[in-house]
């Protein structure tokens, strides 16, 4: 654990990126109102958080039967939030194959100025047109390698170089399953740092399914990352993202500079986010299963729903999805897998 020795990190500057209003949409079954978005975003802005992500949980193009419909379009959310920001930049998520350049243009027109262009950790070459287009718009562009535990350090480095070559300013290691341990993070971030240009930043996006969000984010910084995603009170998919106020407190103690106001973040968590939660976002039996079995965090509530519908325990469904190596975006395969398992177990399917 020498990496967690604070002495070497004193004075390091880190950019925080809050995910409550995007990843947190998953934890709210995509049901966050415009009023809630505005309230959270203005409070985060006042607390000095420099980047705030605002969209459907699955990003641009996310409104669908596959991923659920939010009460408002991405354009409506972004237009409501962006003009009120005093210092924060509004960011969006775009997963090629789901979101398109037309939707990115439209998000930009509504005020989004930063974007995570996300691909599975081995499929970076599906992102060149979207990264190039975001650069053309003049946005801050991150390449976002999801389910990063499914590629080794060398592979991540190679995929990161591709995204850098398309024009990404930052390359993210994204622990979508909350599966990684600090040494896994260290390996991958170090490999990226070794091959990327010095001016290309590295980011880390954690999920707290094994309770490692904060420790993993510190390991990422120690290995060369300068951008950290988290969400206040951990409002995100699975057991949530790295809880941002906890991470900010740890940074303060270690002398890492985030430029945020810790007490204000704590107040946002306690007074605004926690009362918004439909369920307490925490490491419970199913979210722990995600982290333990390496399953995409967003599958959590879908698996719980399929479990209620088809009578197969959510944990069994999640473990099977992990075994079948299903990845982000394959939410349809949750119901499909539950149906097949119910048939194999002779459970009558209501329909």
């Amino acid at each position: 654990m020498s990496l967690l020795n604070s002495s070497g990190l004193k004075g390091r500057k880190v950019i925080l990126h809050d995910m409550c209003l995007r990843d947190g949409m998953h934890a709210k079954r995509e049901q966050i109102s415009i009023e809630q978005m505005v309230k959270v975003a203005t409070a985060l802005d006042a607390a000095g958080v420099p980047y705030i992500q605002v969209t459907h949980g699955a990003g641009l193009g996310g409104n669908s039967l596959q991923h659920g419909f939010a009460p408002h379009s991405n354009e409506e959310y972004i237009s409501a939030v962006a003009p009120l920001m005093k210092q924060a930049k509004v960011s969006v998520l775009l997963i090629p194959g789901l979101g398109t350049m037309q939707e990115l243009q439209s998000a930009y027109d509504c005020g989004a100025r930063s974007v995570h262009i996300a691909t599975h950790c081995t499929e970076a070459d599906t992102s060149p047109q979207h990264i190039a287009f975001a650069r053309k718009l003049g946005m801050d562009v991150s390449g976002f390698l999801m389910m990063a535990h499914l590629n080794d350090a060398e592979g991540i480095a190679e995929q990161g170089r591709l995204m850098e070559s398309y024009g990404a300013h930052t390359v993210y290691v994204t622990d979508s399953a909350g599966y990684m341990l600090p040494e896994d993070v260290t390996e991958r971030i170090s490999a990226l740092r070794a091959v990327l240009r010095p001016e290309t930043e590295i980011g880390f996006h954690g999920h707290h399914n094994l309770g490692m969000g904060v420790a993993n984010s510190i390991a990422a910084i120690a290995a060369g990352a300068s951008r950290i995603d988290g969400s206040v009170a951990g409002l995100g998919a699975g057991a949530g993202n790295t809880p941002l106020e906890v991470f900010a407190a740890v940074c303060d103690r270690m002398g890492i500079e985030t430029g945020t106001d810790l007490f204000k973040l704590m107040d946002v968590a306690e007074d605004i986010i926690v009362p918004m939660m439909e369920h307490v976002v925490r490491v419970d039996r199913e979210s722990l299963t995600l982290g333990y079995a390496g399953v995409y965090s967003t599958f959590l509530l879908h698996a719980k729903k399929a479990s209620e519908q088809f009578g197969v325990p959510a944990r069994d469904i999640l473990v099977e999805l992990g075994r079948k190596k299903m990845i982000g975006g394959q939410e349809d395969m949750i119901k499909d897998t539950a149906l097949t398992m119910a048939r194999e177990r002779d459970i009558a399917i209501p329909c």
């Binding site: 669908s64 039967l65 596959q66 395969m333 329909c351």
Partner: protein, 304 residues
């Protein structure tokens, strides 16, 4: 029996798999393979299979069109170069079957609208996308029973089956497929999602089709229509198979299916490749039969 001579443009996964499909056809004969890289594996394989090849793109083929009697060309390059390829070949009276998402010509899904195209000779027919070929028959199977306000399809594809052209142009795939769900599938609004999964061993092509009907779905009729349509597609893609469903939830109909390929060029997991090449071959065969029967004559189009 006389066969119609064909040229294949693009020496990647789709072009190569097409050779196998066309070689089996009673009415089509593959004669030329066009590429842009002299070292490409696809051109080498085509030569080994007895085709003439050029690495100079469509321009390398043009001087040979008349002497070799080429009447049908398949374009498996990219949406960006398709229009120019089509213009040059149409000018020589060659009918174009477009396997890129360019969608210059009318959209074709054989079990849904192939017959319409036979009567209505277009010099360019578009095959939409692999996901479109796999899912639109089932959207249509629902919409021919009762009106569908919205249809959404999710295609999961094995990473190894997706070539560089599709990867670099995912948006074109999305736009063309979404629009075809409306125009050919019969839904008032369509949306297409694609996921590329790198699992080893590679996963079989999986597709999920969701339809929202305006009124309460007539379960019996819709299920029967879906099963009948699956039978139609199986005539040219035997591995087209229902896995789960249809499941009815309010006005939502959900269908979960998979497509196993014949394993010609890529292994059977690449059903996406097969359904595209098989649909294109079936479409070309329909035109070939009409040409051979003397019902239609291909004419050189005016060069604008």
């Amino acid at each position: 029996m006389k066969k119609i001579k064909c040229a294949l443009i693009g020496s990647g996964n789709i072009g190569t798999d097409l050779i196998y499909k066309i070689l089996r056809s009673p009415v089509l004969e593959p004669v030329w393979m066009v590429g842009i890289d002299p070292e490409s594996e696809g051109l080498l394989r085509a030569r080994e299979m007895g085709l003439k090849t050029t690495h100079e793109g469509v321009d390398g083929l043009l001087p040979h069109v008349q002497e070799d009697g080429i009447q049908i060309a398949f374009d498996a390059t990219s949406a960006y170069v398709h229009a120019e390829n089509s213009r040059k070949l149409n000018a020589l009276g060659v009918l174009m079957i477009d396997l890129t998402p360019a969608a210059v010509g009318p959209l074709c899904v054989p079990p849904v609208n192939l017959r319409e195209h036979a009567g209505n000779l277009a010099m360019n027919v578009n095959m939409i996308s692999c996901a479109g070929q796999a899912t639109i028959p089932l959207v249509n199977a629902v919409s021919r029973v009762q009106s569908v306000s919205y249809a959404e399809i999710v295609a999961s594809l094995a990473s190894k089956s997706i070539g560089p052209g599709t990867r670099a142009n995912l948006d074109e795939f999305t736009y063309t497929t979404s629009s075809a769900i409306e125009k050919v599938g019969g839904a008032r609004k369509g949306k297409a999602l694609a996921i590329i999964n790198p699992a080893e061993p590679p996963m079989m092509m999986r597709n999920t089709i969701y339809c929202l009907t305006d009124d309460e779905p007539d379960r019996e009729k819709i299920t029967a229509s879906i099963l009948e349509m699956i039978g139609e597609v199986q005539k040219y893609v035997p591995g087209y198979r229902l896995v789960n469903g249809p499941i009815y939830d309010g006005n939502q109909v959900s269908i979960f299916m998979e497509v196993a390929g014949l394993g010609d060029y890529l292994p059977t997991y690449a059903g996406n490749l097969d359904i595209m090449t098989a649909a294109a071959t079936r479409t070309a065969e329909m035109f070939a039969e009409e040409i051979l029967a003397g019902n239609i004559q291909l004419k050189a189009t005016e060069v604008a």
